[in-house]
């Protein structure tokens, strides 16, 4: 039975960020910040209310949520809120910003609105509009700091992401022509036959949405955009934008009849594993800590897509990984913002001895690096192990080995670089001035990522047991 309060909460979920997007344009920096904060908190409350009430169902011809969208709504609204909070200090540090604070907060809220809308609509066409809307809303945010490289990155992002999404739109047309509907809920309830046209549509959707997810080889916009965006925006990009794009693909992938055609699941797995491996290799040679974190996000998205391709317990691991990663990675990007504000550089070689110059940020950064690379007991650890276990349970040793290699490479690369910046001795004699930007939000998000791991550990035990049984083993 549908909880009567569910449509109300969905309404609030949309109205809060939408209103904030409009009202934040008042020509007063302080007022626009307050409006954005109210909008963000309102959205978090609505998302949590939906989570607590297990709200699900379809409402009218266009709206609908279920357990899948519920998983994504909380991180999207939470990272939106923490990014709004973090923005105040960050904006103060930007000299000659391209956007005034009212426009910045309006775009940030519109960006969040587009992601939330993607998650609460039932029509795949509207879902596509939501994902494309994130590009329109967020592209100008990249140019905040007015660097030539920022403009270049924003340009690449707009063109490459939009071009990729056009392929996804073509996929939707094929799907509509084959099935006569774009209602994701109806299609999931009554899967169409896996004809060549439907299979092509899903494959094209993988390429199209894969561009926005950051899958290799369509990922080229991702490191530029993540590195050039202001840190609060980078946090939203890495933490929740990429998973929102994956959600849109997941909705299409899910309409296939069970079991998923082997060609498609292998294709999805292949894209995921290749992305994780390429990102893990590329991040080793990075010079900027923001690009390092960007490639880390690409690696995590590769793992998550591999989990989707594997299905079963690996899919559970993928979802857990995405949620925990959202909180840990946003914390890492806020930390990067603190370091940038203090040192004025993103070059890793120029940043050393943070444990003395920025002890609170350094502590959070070390933990965040551990969190995004799947160190226990973070939720990311449980998620990654479940994906590997899922591959082993299917007897796909090659995929399991490739995933483990990618995880280890990323772990060593990221923690090694962050470790050098935090613990390495400073070459120059001049010490930075005392004081550092606030760090409460960094630790708040890290706490959530940690909590997710602790809560999910019993599921890990069950998963390992079930996988052992599937492999013909198990407890006596």
């Amino acid at each position: 039975m549908i909880d009567p309060s569910t449509p109300f909460w969905i309404f609030l979920l949309l109205v809060f960020p939408a209103s904030a997007g409009i009202l934040a344009m008042v020509p007063n920096a302080r007022a626009s910040e307050v409006v954005a904060r109210v909008g963000a908190v309102g959205a978090v409350v609505a998302a949590l209310a939906l989570r607590v009430s297990h709200g699900s169902g379809t409402f009218g011809p266009y709206l609908g949520i279920d357990t899948i969208s519920g998983v994504f709504l909380v991180p999207v609204t939470a990272i939106y809120a923490t990014s709004v909070w973090y923005s105040r200090e960050y904006l103060r540090s930007v000299r000659r910003p391209f956007l005034s604070p009212p426009i910045y907060y309006a775009l940030l809220s519109a960006f969040a609105f587009a992601m939330i809308a993607t998650l609460v609509v039932r029509d795949l066409g509207l879902m596509w509009i939501g994902v494309e809307g994130t590009t329109v809303a967020s592209a100008l945010l990249l140019v905040l700091e007015r660097r030539p490289t920022s403009v270049e990155a924003a340009w690449r992002y707009t063109l490459i992401a939009s071009a990729g999404l056009t392929i996804a739109l073509f996929a939707l047309l094929l799907l509509y022509a084959s099935t006569g509907t774009l209602d994701a809920f109806a299609l999931a309830a009554h899967p169409p036959a896996a004809t060549l046209a439907v299979t092509m549509a899903v494959a094209l959707a993988l390429v199209g949405y894969g561009t926005k997810i950051g899958l290799f080889p369509m990922h080229t916009w991702l490191p530029d955009a993540h590195a050039e965006a202001p840190s609060p925006v980078s946090a939203m990009f890495s933490g929740v934008l990429l998973p929102t794009a994956l959600y849109a693909f997941l909705r299409i992938y899910r309409i296939l009849p069970s079991p998923t055609p082997a060609t498609l699941s292998t294709l999805v797995l292949g894209f995921g594993v290749a992305t994780a491996l390429v990102a893990a290799l590329l991040l080793q040679g990075q010079r900027s800590y923001k690009r390092l974190l960007a490639y880390s996000s690409m690696e995590v998205m590769g793992l998550a897509v591999a989990g989707v391709g594997l299905g079963g317990i690996a899919l559970y691991g993928a979802l857990l990984l995405l949620v925990a990663h959202a909180f840990a990675k946003s914390s890492a990007f806020y930390g990067a913002g603190n370091v940038l504000q203090k040192t004025g550089t993103t070059r890793m070689a120029d940043v050393r001895d943070l444990r003395h110059t920025m002890p609170r940020t350094a502590g959070a950064w070390v933990l965040a690096a551990a969190g995004v690379t799947g160190a226990p007991p973070f939720g990311t650890f449980v998620g990654e192990v479940l994906i590997v276990v899922g591959a082993l349970a299917l007897g796909n040793l090659l995929a399991a080995a490739a995933i483990v290699v990618a995880i280890l490479l990323a772990f060593l690369g990221i923690n090694g670089q962050i470790g050098r910046m935090v613990f390495g001795a400073r070459a120059g004699a001049e010490a930075p001035s005392p004081g550092e930007p606030p760090t409460a939000i960094l630790y708040l998000n890290l706490g959530v990522a940690l909590l997710l791991g602790i809560v999910a550990i019993p599921y890990l035990t069950d998963a390992v047991r079930n996988a052992a049984v599937a492999l013909g083993g198990g407890l006596p």
């Binding site: 403009v151 073509f170 022509a177 084959s178 004809t195 490191p223 010079r287």
Partner: protein, 215 residues
């Protein structure tokens, strides 16, 4: 006598010719004129289909295509050129006209072949394969050109392919969805125009900072 297949094929051929012309043209103004012409042809095809089928939805789409892609966006792009006194010729493309033209023909043949091998059986409508070819040509333009406005034209060509495909084999797509897609595309174009303007403030619309975005 049923002329619908002939009209669709004729207009489709015209759209394909404009796509090939766009690839080989290095002057920016004619590229904008070319995409405007392609959009007008598409609007004409939609109007013809609307008349033949008595469909109000298709008539509205024809009107929106004419207004947004045939007139408004080309006007904005031309205004951009006048405002910033940009080069009227794309520097790199001027030296690669033959290569671009050959690549355009090769991509058209390749896309046609892929469509015939995979989707033709499911979508036998006359001209359906041309939508797929147009999509590939738009992608090629995005990949090979460096001028920001020409890249926007490549994106518009992709979107024209979508509208063309929608009109041919996905009739009945909710109008609400189609209209919002149009608005969304308009948003992308506006953002692109702002970005390219900013790019001009910093350098030329063809200059890049790829070295600094290495890695």
């Amino acid at each position: 006598m049923d002329l619908s297949g002939d009209v669709t094929a004729l207009v489709g051929a015209g759209i394909l010719l404009t796509a090939l012309y766009l690839q080989a043209e290095s002057f920016v103004n004619p590229v904008i004129d070319g995409i405007a012409l392609q959009s007008l042809l598409l609007a004409g095809l939609l109007a013809w289909l609307a008349y033949r089928e008595g469909s109000l939805d298709l008539a509205l789409l024809a009107a929106i295509t004419l207004a947004v892609r045939g007139l408004l966006i080309p006007y904005v792009l031309r205004h951009q050129i006048r405002s910033y006194r940009w080069r009227v010729r794309e520097r790199l493309a001027a030296h690669r006209v033959t290569g671009h033209a050959l690549a355009a023909v090769a991509v058209a043949i390749g896309a046609w072949f892929i469509f015939q091998e995979t989707l033709a059986a499911a979508f036998p409508q006359p001209g359906a394969g041309l939508a797929f070819v147009l999509l590939a040509e738009g992608l090629l333009m995005l990949a090979t050109r460096t001028n920001t406005l020409v890249q926007v034209v490549g994106y518009l060509e992709e979107e024209n392919a979508i509208v063309y495909a929608g009109a041919l084999f996905a009739k009945g797509l909710p109008l609400f969805v189609e209209v919002v897609v149009f608005l969304d595309v308009l948003g992308v174009v506006l953002v692109s125009v702002i970005l390219s303007a900013q790019r001009t403030v910093i350098g030329s619309p063809e200059e890049t900072h790829l070295e600094e975005l290495a890695g």
